[in-house]
């Protein structure tokens, strides 16, 4: 890949969003990942989603662990603070950051090694705490940076580039997220930007733990025949349950849809998730049904994608803890220090 710096000059006719930013204002440094890497498509989708949602780039904190996927926050939202932390520990760092300032938007980017192997515990606990965040796993089923070892999301029977067959059961992060109480759960494919961008937008607008498992083929180590995370395999087995649009206000439903084909879910912040049903019976607000459906389709060899579960009125960690509305990092001495007189009373009670 090229290491040339990107020119700062923008074409004057580039479209601007409501804040006056162009799409370029949401970009970061040039990617150092391999050409054709699925992760770069996800970065592009994040840029697109933030641009379309009119998010101020500096109000986003982007955090990651270690691995190819965890490098990507450098490649989008250059005006945001980023934190490339420790392998598998992004969830705890993000949770701490979120506690310190509830007013920012938290975007966690991780990979399958980072979240399903070394960081499975932290992944699980951040979900069950209901941290208000968008947590994207760029799932390629393989360790890229260390050159091709199986990860914990590799399917049993999947073949490595060198021909070895994976004998271990795969961890399904979507299944775990559903079980552990995530309130927005989606799966997508880096090769399907039309599906992915709205899912990211919905997640960024969600006021609770939002999880997106995004299958993202590794062109260097996991895009061959026999892999279940290759572009070809995922395209052939992709089974989308719905198509999502995120809108504000109630635009009239266009006449393209037949009655009963569209379902609207209003999120706590007023954003409307408009779901075009691809499977008539799929109800994305029914957690148990979603888990059953996923198990069933998995057994049939399909990869179910779309918005799989949504709780439009989630309760996040701050609500659970009962913290003040003012971000904790903005409280001053007067709010935090009880002072000498109070201390004298403490002393008196200890005699």
């Amino acid at each position: 890949m090229s290491f040339l710096p990107k020119p700062k000059l923008h074409h004057p006719s580039l479209p601007k969003n409501a804040l006056g930013y162009t799409r370029r204002d949401y970009e970061g440094s040039i990617s150092t990942l391999c050409a054709g890497c699925g992760h770069d498509s996800i970065s592009a989708a994040i840029i697109q989603a933030c641009f379309e949602l009119d998010i101020e780039p500096h109000r986003v904190a982007k955090l990651s662990g270690i691995g190819c996927s965890s490098k990507t926050p450098d490649y989008f939202l250059g005006a945001s603070h980023g934190f490339n932390s420790v392998h598998g520990r992004m969830p705890s760092v993000l949770t701490g950051a979120n506690l310190a300032n509830r007013d920012l938007i938290y975007l966690g980017v991780s990979g399958d090694g980072d979240s399903a192997s070394i960081g499975l515990g932290q992944f699980a606990h951040s979900m069950r705490r209901g941290v208000n965040m968008t947590y994207i796993v760029e799932n390629n089923g393989v360790y890229g940076l260390t050159k091709g070892q199986f990860s914990a999301t590799s399917d049993r029977g999947s073949k490595s580039k060198k021909g070895a067959v994976n004998t271990d059961e795969a961890i399904d992060l979507v299944g775990l997220a559903l079980q552990l109480g995530a309130t927005y759960v989606a799966r997508s494919f880096s090769g399907d930007k039309a599906q992915l961008v709205p899912l990211i937008k919905g997640a960024l607008r969600h006021q609770g733990a939002a999880f997106i498992d995004c299958i993202s083929p590794c062109v260097a180590f996991n895009n061959h025949e026999g892999s279940t995370k290759s572009y070809d395999f995922v395209r052939e087995h992709n089974e989308a349950v719905n198509r999502l649009d995120v809108i504000f206000g109630r635009d009239p439903i266009s006449a393209d849809y037949a009655p009963g084909e569209v379902r609207e879910v209003v999120q706590h912040d007023g954003s409307v998730l408009r779901l075009r049903k691809l499977h008539a019976d799929y109800d994305p607000t029914d957690r148990v049904a979603a888990m059953n459906y996923l198990q069933e389709r998995k057994a049939a060899g399909e990869i179910v994608t779309g918005l799989l579960y949504i709780d439009p009125e989630p309760q996040d960690l701050h609500a659970n803890l009962g913290t003040v509305a003012v971000p904790l990092n903005q409280l001053d001495d007067a709010a935090l220090c009880p002072g000498a007189a109070a201390l004298e009373k403490v002393n008196a009670s200890l005699r």
Binding site: E56, P57, H58, R59, A61, L63, P73, D74, G78, A79, S80, H81, G82, F83, N84, S85, V86, R89, P91, S92, V93, L94, T95, G96, A97, N98, L99, A100, N101, D103, L104, G121, Q122, A124, H125, R129, H318, L321, G322, T323, V324, A325, L328, N329, L331, D333, A335, L336, C337, P338, G339, A340, A342, L343, V346, N347, L350, R351
Partner: protein
């Protein structure tokens, strides 16, 4: 039969109880009543890793002179646990006293001829007075306090007052406790010779001091220091620190208008997540800490390196216990000195504070946050089980209302707007400390990418050797700057000019002070230096250079502070003589005195003035 021990305001009472029997509050009542008479005490819990059923002891050293270390030896044993009877009886000093429940007769062989036996039929009295099983158990404890008050001359008014305070608003409970207390007291007055040879006399030596445990004090320090985020994982002996933080916060940190919390406490899934939360919160501009013990420190190593290298503040209270591995989880040691000072892989050095008592736990508990923000790195506060989990008599907490949090070098939106150059790892002031920005500060300036990988002065990723070395050297410069910010060592000069010295720290302080007096009485004069922080202030190396030999008193096997001194000051190891106590019990003055006195003749520890006169 040796002469019964006779002592006023100077003896040791040890209670042998069963864990979970409700004895703790009765023993606490006993201890506090002595304090209320103005007589200093030092009290210690000795307990196993267990919730209910195993033996537990509570030791009260009454010391009119105000010695607060553990003394060793037992003058009066209150033997309430049949399971440990034999070893408890064996522990009593000849001429000492054995207090026991005489309801069930015991064979003569169960006693010793050289001690004084005091039997009180506690169970029988309880069974006669109460029908409820739990009441019988609980009031038995209060009853022995009553009997002891008669035997030792404790002021009954002090006890009644304490019970009144304890059960404020629950008058019925206060009354029933007072009744049980008097039942025991009256029986003793009627049936026993009171008082015995061990006596209490009112004194004024307690003054306005307070009686509190180090964990509560450190937690209160964190409240005063402005901590808003606490992430922790339960581990003895640090658990009560996090719990105390929550207690203090409920009292001091509720927003009056809304009832909402100006703090967030997360019981994390493990110590890795705890320190991760702390680093995330500190990165985002909140003051955050974790409380843990040795095994937790081991687990946090990788993250501590990130905090050091990416320069993110973190405060870690380490209440040390006996290691290695699970070790003796309910016994005390100072054995994390090296693993804290040099925590993590690669070249690292961290600020470490060594409080001597709860008062300093409070002070350093608050100061740790200023240091962490100022130097943007981990700060360890090293308590130990002895300070952390025992109530100590100490100077009252103090706070200056004009004091403000020192948030260190934080570049604001205004500074960025004014065009100030921002390089996250740029040493603009020559002190090694760069500016940082909080996330979300400015729409287009001041954002940077935080990483554990090496980077240049402007936070750009690089693996160039020169940039890496430049950064590592700056980190050393920063550590050098910290020397003058951390608490300075405290020197105590010997009564006569001394050739040799002694260095000590943390919970060894009380025993050391007492040992110095005892050594002085024997003509062994030593200048003494109490180290309060790492990096070592220049005064420390100066002290060592001024003395031929320096004893280093520690509660670990491998002389960890001595190692740190030798390494950091390039000291000739032969000049530092280790005095090491590490069996898990708190160090005593007797031990220090004996260990130094044994080595003293070889060192010719004659006072310089005396030598000159010869």
């Amino acid at each position: 039969m040796p002469q019964p021990i006779s002592a006023t305001n100077d003896f040791v009472v040890k209670f042998a109880n069963v864990n979970g029997s409700g004895s703790a509050s009765a023993n606490q009542l006993f201890a506090k009543s002595i304090l209320r008479m103005g007589v200093p005490i030092a009290s210690r819990n000795i307990f196993p890793s267990n919730i209910q059923g195993l033996p537990t002891w509570f030791e009260v050293r009454v010391s009119g002179e105000g010695h607060l270390g553990r003394r060793g030896g037992v003058d009066l044993m209150v033997a309430m646990n049949p399971q440990t009877w034999d070893r408890d009886v064996a522990e009593i000093d000849p001429g000492g006293y054995l207090f026991y429940d005489s309801t069930k007769p015991l064979p003569q062989s169960k006693f010793r001829p050289d001690i004084n036996v005091i039997g009180v039929p506690l169970t029988q009295m309880c069974n006669a007075a109460y029908t409820d099983a739990r009441q019988r158990q609980l009031f038995k404890n209060i009853m022995y306090v009553g009997a002891l008050s008669a035997l030792l001359g404790i002021d009954p008014a002090a006890i009644e007052k304490l019970l009144g305070e304890q059960y404020k608003g629950k008058e019925k409970l206060a009354k029933s406790n007072q009744d049980a207390f008097h039942m025991g007291r009256d029986w003793a007055l009627a049936n026993l010779q009171c008082p015995i040879g061990l006596r209490l006399q009112p004194s004024d030596r307690v003054g306005n001091r307070i009686y509190v445990d180090g964990n509560s004090a450190a937690a209160l320090g964190a409240v005063y220091g402005g901590a808003t985020v606490c992430a922790w994982y339960p581990i003895t002996p640090s658990t009560s620190l996090a719990e105390a933080f929550e207690r203090w916060c409920r009292r001091f940190r509720i927003e009056p208008e809304t009832g909402k919390k100006r703090y967030a406490i997360v019981q994390a899934e493990d110590e890795l997540a705890s320190i991760g939360l702390v680093i995330g919160a500190s990165w985002n501009g909140a003051r955050a800490f974790t409380a843990t013990s040795g095994p937790g420190i081991s687990l946090m190593q990788e993250f501590v390196g990130l905090s050091y290298f990416a320069e993110i503040p973190s405060v870690i209270f380490d209440v040390q216990r006996a290691g290695p591995s699970t070790g003796m989880p309910t016994r005390t040691q100072q054995s994390d000195v090296l693993s804290a000072a040099y925590a993590s892989h690669g070249d690292t050095k961290h600020i470490v504070l060594f409080p001597e008592d709860p008062r300093e736990c409070f002070e350093m508990g608050a100061q740790a946050f200023d240091l962490a923000d100022r130097f943007q790195q981990p700060v360890f506060v090293l308590l130990d089980l002895d300070i952390g989990m025992n109530d100590w008599l100490c100077e009252p907490f103090a706070w200056d209302d004009s004091r403000r949090m020192d948030r260190g070098k934080v570049m604001t939106a205004e500074m960025l707007e004014a065009g100030t150059t921002f390089g996250r790892y740029l040493d603009v002031d020559g002190d090694g400390v760069p500016y940082r920005t909080y996330p979300g500060t400015h729409p287009s300036k001041g954002a940077f990418f935080t990483r554990g990988t090496s980077r240049d002065r402007f936070a750009k990723y690089t693996e160039q050797g020169a940039a890496y070395v430049d950064n590592m050297q700056r980190l050393l410069r920063k550590f050098e700057t910290a020397k003058s910010y951390v608490p300075r060592p405290v020197e105590r000069e010997a009564a006569q000019p001394a050739r040799h010295g002694v260095i000590y720290y943390g919970s060894s302080s009380a025993a050391m002070k007492e040992a110095l007096l005892a050594l002085e009485a024997e003509g062994i004069h030593l200048d003494a230096l109490r180290i309060r922080a790492f990096p070592f202030h220049d005064d420390v190396m100066d002290f060592i250079s001024r003395h031929e030999k320096v004893f280093v008193v520690e509660q670990n096997r491998d002389a960890q502070l001595r190692t740190l001194l030798i390494n950091e000051g390039s000291i000739n190891p032969a000049r530092l003589i280790p005095i090491l106590h590490y069996d898990g019990t708190p160090i005593t003055a007797r031990f220090i005195r004996a260990a130094i006195a044994e080595k003293a003749p070889a060192l010719n520890v004659v006072p310089l003035a005396g030598a000159a006169a010869e």
